[in-house]
């Protein structure tokens, strides 16, 4: 169920200014990561992993684009790996974990682009993407904290 929520969020964020404020390829809000973060903190890494896998696979299927799978997967898995590691360290809050996840996500996607194109060219986009990821990571963390707060009140 969480996977479908992640999918829905990916779809919805497409309606916001598609490429953020900057015409950067691959820049997006990353709202689907809210689900990943939630799963990571409440269900644990293994569950978060399955959700990411399902979300990426189905997302690529719905987009009708098989190559999108590589991008989605590398980005999502790198993000999850980074976030799991950061969370384990216990000195980072949700914000640190989320920014790390966003940065890792971008690195994964640039890596996928480099593999697909067989060129170092996509690396040129990474610096700006990384700077953007600080903000999108913080935003995801902020929304997640609202979510957690609301859920805590509801229980």
């Amino acid at each position: 169920m969480l996977a479908s929520l992640a999918l829905a969020l990916s779809y919805v964020e497409g309606f916001f200014p598609p490429l953020l404020l900057l015409p950067l390829p691959g820049a997006k809000w990353g709202l689907a990561n809210i689900v990943t973060v939630y799963a990571l903190y409440t269900l644990g890494a293994p569950s978060a992993l399955s959700i990411v896998l399902v979300r990426c696979t189905l997302g690529a299927l719905f987009a009708g684009n098989a190559s999108a799978l590589l991008f989605s997967l590398l980005g999502g898995l790198c993000a999850l790996a980074a976030m799991t590691l950061l969370k384990k360290c216990r000195i980072f809050s949700l914000y640190g974990v989320s920014v790390g996840g966003a940065a890792a996500h971008n690195c994964g996607q640039v890596l996928a682009a480099m593999l697909t194109l067989g060129s170092f060219a996509p690396l040129a986009y990474l610096p700006l993407l990384l700077v953007v990821s600080v903000f999108t990571g913080a935003l995801t963390a902020f929304v997640s904290t609202l979510l957690f707060r609301a859920l805590a009140h509801a229980e």
């Binding site: 390829p25 903190y41 950061l86 809050s93 914000y95 920014v99 194109l117 990384l130 700077v131 229980e155």
Partner: protein
Amino acid sequence: MKSYPDNRLRPADALVVLVVLAMAAAIALWQFSARTQSDALTVVVEIDAAEVDRFPIESLETHTYTNNGVTLMLAPYVGGASTVSSQESELTRGVCVAESDCPTLDCVRTGVITRAGQSIVCLPGRIVVTLEGAQQDFDAIAG
């Protein structure tokens, strides 16, 4: 009963931000230092990771490439001064994607590239246009 993380920023978070920004700066610096501005630039076009075209930047023709359902038009750019009366050395030459029917149009948005090492990437079409400078790198100089 699930335990939710507390939502306050911690000092260590600054560390994550710093590392990410440092990575961005490092990559940007590496990219920047690898570029040289040279008049003898060559435009190299790769499709599906294989080189398909190569021509000097002085070429004033537009080139059209189609791949993976995407067609894009590469156009020359000449700028810097009035092209009628200027010396060749004052002109800035570059290329840009004038038109494309790819879904995201990042290639068009990239604008003009004028320096060696810069590139325009069309991901849906798997087309990469790179500027190559004159060979100036030496691995070792003997004697």
